[in-house]
């Protein structure tokens, strides 16, 4: 039950792209590619957050020693 860290990675990437845009002075070819990526990340993150429901798993192991 290894945890996956996709949300924070994607969120960090979205922040990184935004920082890049805020820097100004960017080439239009790069800008279009980055914008598409940023838009996709934002949509993925949004739909993930809106669709998810809390999962509670019981630990089977007993701890009364």
């Amino acid at each position: 039950m290894k945890k996956e860290d996709s949300f924070s990675q994607q969120f960090a990437e979205l922040e990184e792209i935004t920082k890049w845009f805020e820097k100004g002075d960017v080439s239009i070819e790069d800008a279009l590619g980055k914008f598409e990526r940023g838009l996709k990340l934002a949509e993925d993150l949004q739909s993930y957050l809106q669709g998810v429901e809390q999962r509670v798993v019981e630990m089977k192991k007993k701890f009364n020693v």
Binding site: M1, E4, F7, S8, F11, E15, F35, L49, V56
Partner: protein, 394 residues
């Protein structure tokens, strides 16, 4: 009456111990009293006396069995079994468990443990770890029957349902709960690949109710955890040992959930904001690009126009120069014609035709004077229509 039976000393001690153990089975009673003459010998044997106003019992246990901090003057209750030690004939109560009885003792034990652990660096601020921004999986250690369990899950599901919660069901009160909680923390804390955060929580209660969270074994389990630990024990005002060791201390179970989970509404807002920043930046970029393109078009246009202007001008200059040249040529031609006419008019033939003649010597040279002619015997007189030989000596 039968005569008294004879027992060896060893037999007596054995019989005595068996009788006592049968009459007062372990766990069926506890002895409450005040601690006095507390001491640890050889780093492993714990000895103290338990007394009240009228009596005193010598107690004995190993340091590994000592789960709470005790000191002289504290009021405690112990379970165990009383026996005579064969070798020395000394009576001791072999302690199995110690319960701190009364707020005073609990407070005292709390202070003693706090001082001890503080000295060892368990509360050091610089070893507290930060919590991840977006936890993927959280280990929740509490009793499923506790209000804390419901409170925590209510807040976590409202704030950040994306995190999976793995619940460790443990007792949160009573002596047996101490090892349960410690074992659960040890298990979750040893799995940094599975968990981002371990949260240990229970609702409010008296100091005795919260005792589990004031024990050394729980504190050490938290200290050893490789995963950041959040404690949310009791109410705002309750400070427990686990709060001091934990990486993050929450005031209540709900507050623990607030500290661990980001608010998804807020994050959605941030995502929208980030997207808008990108959109605006791209718009600005495109507008800039459009303006630049327009400028380039204008510059190129102007250049082309100036180029064609220059072509027209050059053409005009060339045409003007051609006109001049033509005029010059006509002039030259006229002057050449004139010269030719002049030359023609000067040709000797013309003179001959008008009646003149000239005299030529035999060698072709012109004889221009009568004296020169007299020297020659013979000459040729040239007319326009032929030549006549003349003889001067005739």
């Amino acid at each position: 009456m039968n005569p008294p039976s004879t027992l060896s000393v060893s037999e007596f001690v054995e019989l005595f111990n068996e009788t006592v153990a049968r009459a007062l089975p372990q766990g069926t009673f506890e002895i409450e009293g005040e601690v006095t003459s507390f001491g640890i010998s050889g780093g492993q044997w714990v000895r103290f006396d338990l007394k009240d106003g009228d009596a005193l019992v010598n107690c004995f246990l190993t340091v590994w069995q000592l789960k709470v901090e005790i000191a002289d003057g504290m009021k405690i209750a112990v379970t165990g079994v009383g026996k005579l030690y064969p070798k020395y004939g000394k009576f001791s109560f072999v302690v199995q468990s110690i319960r701190l009885s009364g707020e005073g003792s609990l407070k005292r034990a709390f202070e003693l443990l706090k001082k001890k652990l503080e000295g060892e660096g368990l509360f050091d601020a610089d070893r507290k770890r930060a919590l991840p921004r977006f936890p993927q999986r959280v280990a929740l250690i509490t009793s499923r029957d506790a209000a804390a369990y419901t409170d925590f899950l209510r807040v976590s599901s409202a704030r950040w349902p994306a995190t999976e919660i793995v619940h460790y069901h443990v007792g949160v009160q009573g002596d047996s709960a101490i090892e349960e909680v410690a074992a659960a923390i040890k298990d979750a804390g040893s799995r940094p690949d599975d968990f981002d955060v371990v949260v240990v929580t229970r609702g409010g209660g008296s100091m005795e109710d919260l005792h589990v969270f004031n024990t050394e074994s729980v504190a050490r389990a938290v200290f050893a955890s490789r995963v950041p630990v959040v404690s949310g024990v009791g109410h705002e005002r309750d400070i427990t040992i686990i709060d001091l060791v934990a990486d993050v201390r929450a005031a209540t179970p709900s507050n623990a959930a607030e500290l661990i989970f980001p608010d998804s509404e807020e994050i959605l807002g941030v995502i929208r904001h980030l997207r808008n920043v990108q959109m605006r930046a791209l718009d600005v970029r495109i507008a800039h690009e459009r303006a630049r393109t327009a400028h380039i078009t204008y510059v190129v246009d102007r250049w082309l126009r100036s180029l064609s202007d220059r072509v027209v001008q050059t053409q005009r200059q060339l045409a003007a120069r051609r006109d001049g040249l033509e005029q010059k040529i006509v002039k030259y031609r006229e002057s050449v014609d004139h010269s030719i006419r002049m030359m023609r008019s000067l040709h000797p033939e013309h003179l001959l035709k008008r009646g003149y003649s000239y005299t030529r010597a035999k060698d072709g040279s012109i004889i221009g004077s009568a004296a020169a002619l007299r020297e020659k015997k013979q000459a040729t007189q040239v007319y326009f229509d032929g030549e006549v030989t003349i003889h001067t000596d005739l």
